[in-house]
Subunit: 292 residues, 3 copies
């Protein structure tokens, strides 16, 4: 997301809204193959890219690493080189390595487009775009909007991508959550607040998933869902302190009764289901832009 | 299957026969996404739903639980809520939990159709429909037809669905198999007979698979294939006692030489291969009915 | 490959070249289902068959053995019998058993075409065809061409298929590699040479992958990548001894710096990426020929 200008982002958002309104892509009259390579578990990102690809009329290849030559020791580079040689024009990738894509986009022999579906604790640009789309649908404009991001900031690729782009677009960002899960590197984007303050201040209360798969064992062993919910979660009580037109967001999957109270997930203030719906259109816009 | 009236079933069977004769669905002029979520192993049900979906012109999303957020602890409810939000219009599900579908069809926020591809030891409606279709093709009418169901009655979702619907349609149902695998709850549908009596009486000899994956370890350890075959299986000798026009059915996969003799699986009396073929058309009829 | 005459092979190669030039198949006006059943890991063969199937306009069923009734003990025979009953017209199979296909093509009840995507240490006909296509593109004619095949000859299904067909087509074949991985059975196709001699003699230097998954544990424990590379690999030094217009081939995945130096994989003499590209068209020709 660092490389995108606000104008480019606003253009992508416009296109995503058009797709949501029923616009279709003027696809070249030939088969275009997309490959999805998810080396980390995913429900939303993976399936919404698949649906976005099909809505654009692409042929989809689901790459299953566990049944591939990756099991014989083949590297990510050689895997993508192969798919490129087979005629794949766009690869959507999720991988646990930060910046895995550098060697792919710098290769002279790999010509297909690379779309990042999440890299390690790095970036998650398509999630960022769908979050921005959901906020824009609600408030129209980003200028002066107060967005509070709470939870496991340091492991979150969502937090980083969103904080960068929201500030570029004129929003004011706040952070909260356990201090040991915060990274001072985020100070450049906004202020750290107590959870109660963040909830009362924000137009958008964005909760982040507790990612046990990215914590170490010791942290997981001592973790109490009830304690986390009480100290850093959006409890029913805290939710009652939200501004009148404020909304709740979460990249999901939600740990119900941890990051937010079970009853809030599908509540009138929640945009969590809408975020998932918008993800399809945001991803159509991204795919179209790299295929053009 | 409890909720279907005989007329509704007969209408579905008629439609399945039409599909088999080459009829096609008058599909709305838009993309329709179906998702298959099989949390239990399956070859026939899974692949024939996939083929049925494609024959109806649907876009198919194969949900792979082992590479999804289910691995991060996401519930079935939240998974289906997600797919619904992504625009999926029908989910075909197989799950080990009896009545898993209740919370899905009762949810206000899940709008997609749910098709049950088998729940725990509960129901297996699409298998039931293809069995009825195969019987109807053979005998035309169900009234007075004698159907013997033999094997692991209590764990079988096929037995339950079939016994309910066959009796509703006027057939007479008998059961046989190991007494410890029988459930007196089935007395309401028909009489328990010795295996030899069942074979000599029945127009349809329906064998059930020994489901080791649903038995406990002790039962599996003491199980002898040869003994089972001799006592409760359709041996070549027993098959020679079948009525002249009686047929053999089995939901498959068959344990050859356990539930029935190897040589009977593809014999002239067997309709096991035909059951699989009919499954595609029965499932087309089911999918069409929920999409309309 | 034993059953193909040179003329039949040359006709397939011609058709593959036509597909590469943009020709399309005159597909019958109906849905045709292909199923891919890969019981061994694969990236190139599996994905290029998938793409070839889609380019021919087929509907593709990806059979996932690990989520199928194979897990309940169902045999390969009964699995293919099932897919055939469901209406699948061509099954592409890879399996660890040599000649697994015999019982399938000899069955009276299995009607679908079987395409061998690799059987144990047996044959790999589609790899053979794409290799021949790549050689033909380079040299036009096979007569008198010198082809050196080096590496794990005895476990390689590529070596066997290629040696058989290349000699039929008039090429001269040589072998090299560790003596303990050589099989005197190959003497009928060509002479065994020292690696340096093979490199200097050959128009095509074809390296074979060290297949640790087919070696025993003891062999794997004592294996040294550096030693193998030095003794039997295409080092940079050896590559400098190649004839001026000689090319490098490898079925891939490549163990870089084992069978050949890392820098040679994507070098100007290498046709490894082209082999992958040609694989799609070779497989289209094979599929078309069995569907006609």
């Amino acid at each position: 997301m660092e490389d995108y200008t606000p104008d480019e982002i606003l253009a992508l958002l416009k296109r995503a809204r058009e797709f949501k309104s029923g616009a279709s892509w003027d696809k070249p009259n030939k088969q275009i193959f997309a490959a999805n390579l998810f080396f980390e578990n995913s429900t939303r990102t993976h399936n919404s890219f698949h649906i976005a690809e099909r809505k654009l009329g692409l042929d989809v290849l689901e790459f299953n690493a566990s049944q591939s030559s990756v099991k014989k020791g083949e590297t990510l580079y050689d895997t993508v080189l192969t798919l490129d040689a087979l005629g794949v024009e766009v690869c959507v990738l999720r991988h646990s390595t930060d910046h895995y894509y550098d060697e792919l986009i710098n290769s002279e022999n790999i010509h297909c487009a690379i779309v990042n579906g999440g890299d390690g604790s790095g970036q998650h640009p398509s999630q960022c775009l769908l979050d921005l789309m959901t906020i824009q649908e609600e408030f129209g404009d980003f200028t002066g909007l107060q967005v509070g991001i709470a939870g496991d900031i340091s492991h979150s690729r969502v937090a980083r991508s969103n904080a960068q782009m929201l500030t570029k677009l004129g929003a004011k960002v706040y952070f909260s959550g356990p201090k040991e899960w915060y990274n001072p590197d985020f100070d450049q984007y906004g202020q750290f607040l107590a959870m109660d303050d963040l909830v009362q201040t924000s137009d958008v209360v964005m909760l982040l998933r507790v990612q046990h798969e990215r914590q170490d064992e010791k942290a997981n062993a001592s973790f109490s869902k009830a304690d986390y919910h009480k100290e850093y979660g959006l409890t029913l009580e805290r939710a009652s302190q939200m501004k009148g037109n404020a909304i709740i967001m979460h990249p999901a999957p939600v740990n119900r009764d941890v990051e937010l109270a079970d009853a809030l997930v599908e509540s009138p203030q929640s945009r969590i289901v809408k975020q998932m719906t918008n993800g399809v259109y945001a991803r159509m816009a991204i795919l179209e832009s790299v295929l053009k």
